[in-house]
Every structure is written in structure tokens, then in C-alpha cells.
């Protein structure tokens, strides 16, 4: 009876309705806890080990369900409704492809692995879009399904920076080849290995310029891609008949990235100071030759330490970028004219929280990870307030079944696009 588009006159049905122009603020709330999520996580890890990783789709579903069901948006939790069968099927398909790729590279079938990589690159926009389609389509709030309505044409048009930058690099490689006074072949290997100096000295300033410009353009293209995709995701997201609204401009994104580079350089400087101070104390360890097999262990641990150092030095910059991006996006999006979001996330406290989390995770060999995840999720989520004009009852929609793309979702997950976050 009240099947389709209900006009806003539906509101006064309830007792004491708010006038449709009133704006109500609803801070988002996360009601889960670190200790509780630790149990969810450890059960997942254990069952994954027992099933040799086959439990992964179930584990992903449980994780998503835990976070969704404890996320209160205007007093109603989010609902995660991805059909398990689709998730399992997508996972198996993904594993098969991955296995094929592993075997192809391990056994030196260069053409096959190159084809797989090329295929993944050309299909990347398609995969991204179907992953988003899957994720939004699997999310409900008050029984209403979120939708991602972008057409494939829009997705590929939004991906233009990838193709532009690929063209630039192909052109540059050819130009450098043509400009080189003599063929850029490697000189024969000498006793100590390949000598690169003659090659480097033959590269002219013009070529260095082309390379530098290429790096700069690549960075700008990467930012542009992030901007395009985020924008498309919000503008083509829909709750019922209401479309998302997107206000940020490209310049905002570039500014965030510039500030991030600054933070990174600062971290680098600090890292060097620390390494310099530590370096003095390491010198007394003497030469490795005298240590015999213990040297191997020492080298392994030094490598791990170096990896950790790189992780730690770049951690503040990555956290800073994440926080600033989150602020920027959640202060500038909304749902048609009904709702908008405000975010008061502090970049400094998020960076501090991330540093604490990284350190504790390293110290506990990863056991702190669930607590870290909950901490960060809570800080981000609870910084957001939803402002709704005219009450929560006015959104109408249709349940749709556009829920393929389980494999794309798995790929997006493998590429580091978290389901939760």
C-alpha cells in the first residue's frame, strides 16, 4: 500500500512530529569494545588456521557484522547483509586466480604472468566499482539498502589519470631511447658486478627533466585518481531515492597531500636523528665475520629492525593523511538535502593514537591489532555527527538485488581497501 515514493507528508503520522525544517544532530556512536572484538578476531584467526585459510570469507563476514552491528547511526545500527554464498564463491574464484598467478611466476612463464598483471591493470576500475557496488549493496540502515549507481562508463571516465600517466611513461621511455647518443645497453659486467656509472652519466639533463616531471605528474595523477574515485563513490551512492552529495575540490586533496609530505619529511628527520644516536652504540658489535652463524640471525634481525624503522617513520605521515582526508570528506558530504555530516577529528590525536597502536602491535607480535582497530574506528566514527533536516522517517527506496562482485570485493580487500574503516 505505501509501497513506493512516500512524500514528506508521511512524517506527521507519528506523535509530536518535528517541523520539516528542524535540524536534529545525531552523533554517531560505536558501542563495541576492544576486549570483545579481540575474541571475535582470535576466533577468526584460529578457525582460519584450522581450515588453512578457507575460513576467510566467514571471518570477513563476522568482522563486518561486529563493526556494523555496534555502529549506531541515529539510534539504528548498520546492517551487514552480504549473502555468505557470494562471499565464499568470490573468495574461491580469487584464490584460483591468485594460485594461477603464483604458479605462472614461480615456473617462469613470463607471458602468462605479464598477461595476468596487464589484465588486472585494465580491469582495475571495473573491479574497484564492483567491489564498491558489493559493499554498499551489502549495507542497510533502517532496512534501507545503500546502492552504488555509477555506470561502467562513468567509472572508466573517472579513471582517466591512470591511462594518461601510463601514456606519459611509455612516451618518455621512447623519447629517452631516441635522445640517447648511443644505445643504452649495459656495459659488460666487471669483477664487482654491473657498473651503472657510465649509463647514468650518459643521461642528459633533458632526460633527467623528463623523469622528474614524470614523477611529479604521477603523484598528481595518483591524487587525482583518489579524488575522482572518492567523489564518484559519494555522488553515486544512494540511500533509497536519495543521492549522495559531494563538495570537496581537487585543490583540497592536493593540499592534504602537500601537508602529508611535510609531515613525512619531519618524520624522516626524526628517524635519522634516532638512527644516528643508535648507530654509535651499534658500532661496538664489531665485524660480523667473527660471529659465525650468529651473524645470520643478527642480519635477519637487523633487516626486521630496518623494516620496522621504515614503518615507524612513515606511520605518522600515513596516519596524518588518513585523518586529514577523513576530516575533509566527512565535513563536505551529505545525502541530497536531507542530511549532512560534520566531523571534528583531530589529526594530532589520531597520529598519536596510531603511533601508540603501531608500537603496541609490534611489541605484542600483532596481538594488539584488534584493540588498535577498535581504537581507531571508534575515534574516527565518534568524531562524526549526522545532521538531519525534517526527521528520519522520510527516506524511501526499493530493495534491489544488484549484489554480484564477491570476487571483486575479495580483490579490493587484498589490495588493502578495508571492508571496515
Amino acid at each position: 500500500m505505501e509501497a513506493s515514493n512516500r512524500p514528506e507528508s508521511a512524517v506527521p503520522e507519528r506523535a509530536g512530529p518535528a517541523p520539516s525544517s528542524t535540524i536534529a544532530a545525531h552523533p554517531l556512536v560505536f558501542s563495541g569494545g576492544g576486549g570483545e572484538y579481540f575474541r571475535v578476531w582470535i576466533v577468526n584467526v584460529l578457525l582460519s588456521i584450522l581450515t588453512l585459510g578457507l575460513y576467510t570469507p566467514w571471518a570477513r563476514r563476522r568482522t563486518a557484522q561486529y563493526f556494523y552491528s555496534h555502529t549506531q547511526v541515529a539510534d539504528s545500527p548498520l546492517e551487514f547483509t552480504a549473502p555468505l554464498r557470494k562471499m565464499v564463491f568470490g573468495f574461491l574464484l580469487f584464490m584460483l586466480l591468485y594460485l594461477a598467478f603464483e604458479i605462472a611466476t614461480k615456473t617462469g612463464q613470463e607471458t602468462a604472468s605479464a598477461l595476468l598483471i596487464l589484465g588486472a591493470a585494465v580491469l582495475a576500475p571495473y573491479l574497484w566499482a564492483s567491489a564498491m557496488r558489493f559493499r554498499l549493496g551489502s549495507t542497510r540502515w533502517r532496512g534501507l539498502q545503500l546502492l552504488f549507481t555509477a555506470s561502467w562508463k562513468e567509472v572508466y571516465l573517472a579513471s582517466w589519470p591512470v591511462f594518461a600517466i601510463a601514456l606519459y611513461w611509455i612516451a618518455t621511455v621512447y623519447t629517452i631511447g631516441a635522445l640517447a647518443p648511443e644505445p643504452l645497453s649495459l656495459p659488460p659486467a666487471t669483477e664487482g658486478g654491473v657498473n651503472l656509472d657510465p649509463v647514468l652519466s650518459r643521461v642528459s639533463p633533458t632526460q633527467w627533466g623528463l623523469l622528474g616531471l614524470g614523477l611529479l605528474l604521477s603523484l598528481l595523477a595518483a591524487i587525482r585518481i583518489e579524488y575522482n574515485y572518492k567523489g564518484l563513490l559519494v555522488r553515486r551512492a544512494a540511500l533509497g531515492t536519495q543521492q549522495g552529495r559531494w563538495k570537496p575540490v581537487y585543490g583540497d586533496f592536493v593540499r592534504v597531500w602537500l601537508a602529508t609530505v611535510g609531515v613525512f619529511l619531519l618524520g624522516l628527520l626524526l628517524g635519522f636523528v634516532v638512527i644516528f644516536l643508535l648507530g654509535g652504540s651499534l658500532a661496538f658489535l664489531g665485524d660480523l665475520q667473527a660471529m659465525g652463524p650468529a651473524a645470520i640471525i643478527f642480519v635477519v634481525f637487523s633487516l626486521l629492525a630496518l623494516l620496522t624503522a621504515v614503518l615507524l617513520i612513515s606511520a605518522p605521515a600515513r596516519a596524518y593523511r588518513e585523518a586529514r582526508m577523513f576530516q575533509l570528506v566527512w565535513n563536505n558530504i551529505g545525502l541530497s538535502h536531507l542530511a549532512r555530516f560534520k566531523c571534528r577529528l583531530s589529526a594530532a590525536s589520531f597520529v598519536w593514537l596510531r603511533l601508540k597502536n603501531v608500537l603496541l602491535t609490534l611489541l605484542t607480535l600483532g596481538l594488539y591489532r584488534p584493540f588498535a582497530r577498535v581504537n581507531e574506528y571508534r575515534m574516527k566514527l565518534e568524531s562524526v555527527t549526522l545532521h538531519v533536516k525534517g526527521g528520519l522517517d522520510q527516506v524511501s527506496g526499493e530493495l534491489s538485488r544488484q549484489q554480484s562482485g564477491g570476487m571483486a570485493d575479495m580483490m579490493a580487500d587484498a589490495a588493502g581497501l578495508d571492508l571496515i574503516g
Binding site: 500500500m1 505505501e2 512516500r6 508521511a10 507519528r14 558501542s31 563495541g32 575474541r39 571475535v40 578476531w41 576466533v43 577468526n44 584467526v45 584460529l46 578457525l47 582460519s48 588456521i49 584450522l50 588453512l52 585459510g53 566467514w58 571471518a59 563476522r62 557484522q65 561486529y66 552491528s69 549506531q72 539510534d75 539504528s76 545500527p77 546492517e79 584464490m95 603464483e102 604458479i103 614461480k106 615456473t107 542497510r140 540502515w141 533502517r142 532496512g143 534501507l144 659486467a189 533509497g240 660471529m291 659465525g292 652463524p293 650468529a294 635477519v300 626486521l304 609490534l362 607480535l365 600483532g366 591489532r369 522517517d393 522520510q394 527516506v395 524511501s396 527506496g397 526499493e398 530493495l399
Partner: protein
Amino acid sequence: MGEATQLPARWFNGRSSRAREVRVALTPGPRGPRLQLIPLDPADGPAREFEHDAVGWPPAWSSRRHPTTLSVELRDAGSLQIDNPQAWHDALARCGARPGLAQRMQTHWPVFVAVLLVAVVGLGAFYRYGTPWAAMQLTRLVPLAWEESLSQRVMTRIDQGRMLKPSELPVARQAELRARFDALVRQLGPKLTPYPGHKPRYTLDFRHGMGANAFALPGGIVVMTDELVTTAAQNGLGDEALIGVLAHEIGHVAYRHGTRLVVEQGVLQIGLGLAMGDVSNIVSLGSTLLTSLAYRRQHEAEADCFAQALLRQAALPTSPMADLLIAISSARDDGAKTQAHKHEEKGEVGLFEGLFSSHPQTAQRARQLKAGEAGSCPL
């Protein structure tokens, strides 16, 4: 039906964000609890029945604490919100709901501990016996031609990249060793063919560089360095020592260890990577590394055992090979006489050395070879 508890709930029909007041009744069904939805407002239609499979039952995360609001997915019929989760879970339990293993592990520590124990034992057994067995079965499917083409490519790469130089041994000496190698290969009977039907063409090549060493590539290519031949001569060891080493390398080819390692590492990387990856990359990397080293040690022990059986078949002694192994390892130590190696000579093996080496401890190997009981040998 009469005794079924009814809970107040809010129903969102999937087409509007407006809540409708309803009552929810749970009743036992053949496959689990069933759900009945009874709208309070007649305008919202008649009561609806949902079979067990038509409902997305929300899991319980704890035996005590629940989210403030519970949502129940009803597929095309929208969603329900329950404001009293404890009452909901109690009612479900009364209707004979049987939570899955994950939820029981989640809410009951004893179940979790039991599964943990099973996991520890099962995992150990799998990586100790399961993976090697599976690798062997999978290796059966790999054709010999594939192994041969792979080895050809590796040899070309080694020679073109000048990792090894052409041998400086006199041609006559090469021919002499090759003849003994061929004689040894002719001794291979069905007992020394772990893969029936796998009949590689064994060839011996000589190269210079990389110290005293010998290695085998899948498909039959065995390479020996000039330095190994000189080391044997310098230590007054006859050709029996070199033949012993060659027998060991033939063992690697016959057991198809190169191919097996590819399979085993694939299983490890995917299995352990998926299982441990969420804990931390260090744990996942570490366990993969340690397990793969354990497999390599297992391969070495197998090849030792094979060499011993082959030498016995050819009526050759095993102790010259053992002496050569000791000579090589002490030559390597000359640069760095360390506490650790002094231990090793006495036959004491540190835990870390045991874990981090790809070959079984040299002293131990040599001792077992001398006694003719390499690696608790089945052959």
C-alpha cells in the same frame, strides 16, 4: 504457538525508513527457530511467517553484553530492530536455536580452548606430514619435460650471468668422473626410484666459482664445482668421496626435491599467509621461513639416505663422503673460528642453529653417514 514469547520490535519494510510497531514471535521449527511478525497497525498488513532459512539471525558476541539495538535481516521483507537483545537471545535459546561453532567459541572459553588445542596439534601434523604428502602427490602430476626445460633455462641464466665460470679441470679428468657418475646412475634400481615412471636423463656438468659445492637441478642436471674436486684432493680423499656427494645430488633429482619445494612453498605461503597474515606479517613471514627451512632439512636427510643406499648398492664406502663434508665445513670455518662451531664439532647443536639452517648439522650428518644410518633411513 500459544506459549511462544512475543517481543516488541520495530519493523522497517525495506521501502521506507519509517518504523512500524510490531510484535515478534519465535517458535521452534524443523531446521531451527521460525519467526512470526505481527504488525500492530492493521494498515501494515497481515502477520507474516518466516522459515529459519529466510532470516539473517544476528550472532551473539558475548554471553553477557549485547549491542544496544539488535537488527534482524528479513531479506526482501526489510529488517527488524529489537531493543531488548537479552530477551531475544533467551527466546531463541528456548526455541532450540543451535549456535554455530564460531559463536560457541566466541561466548564460551572452554570451547575456545578445546579448539585451540585441536588447532595446535592439527597444524603441527599438517605441516609435518600433510604438506609433504600433498606435495608428493602433486609432483606426480608434473611432467619430466617441464623439469627439464626449467633446468635448461636456469643453466643458461647461470652461464650468461657469469655466476659460474667454465670448468678448468682437464678434459680427461672430467671424463673420468663422468664415467664413474654414469656407472653410479646405472645402479639405480626400482627400489631407488621413489617416483615410478620418472626416468630423468642424469648428466654431470663441471663449473668453476662459488667454492666447494655441488648442486642438482630438477630433471637430471648435476653440477659439481672444480673447488670440490680440489678440496677432496687436498685432503687426501679419493674419488669415492666425490661419488658419495654425487649420489646425494642424484637423490635430490630422484626425489624431485626442486619441484616439491615449489609446491610446498606455495602451500605454505598461501596457507600460513592467510591464516597468520591478520596477526602480523612478521609472524606469518617467520613461520613460513622456519617451516620451509624444516622441509629443506628433510630433503637433505632424504638425499643422504638415498646416497647411502645407492653407495651400498654399488658396493662403495660412505665414510669418504663424510670426511669430505667435514673437510668442507672446517675449511669454511677457518676464516671464522667461533664458539658456535666448536660446539658443533663436539656434536652439540644450538636451538637457533637447528632452526635457522637449511642443511642438517654437518657433524651429525657425517657421523650418521659413517655409521651407515643416515636420517633414520627407510631405504
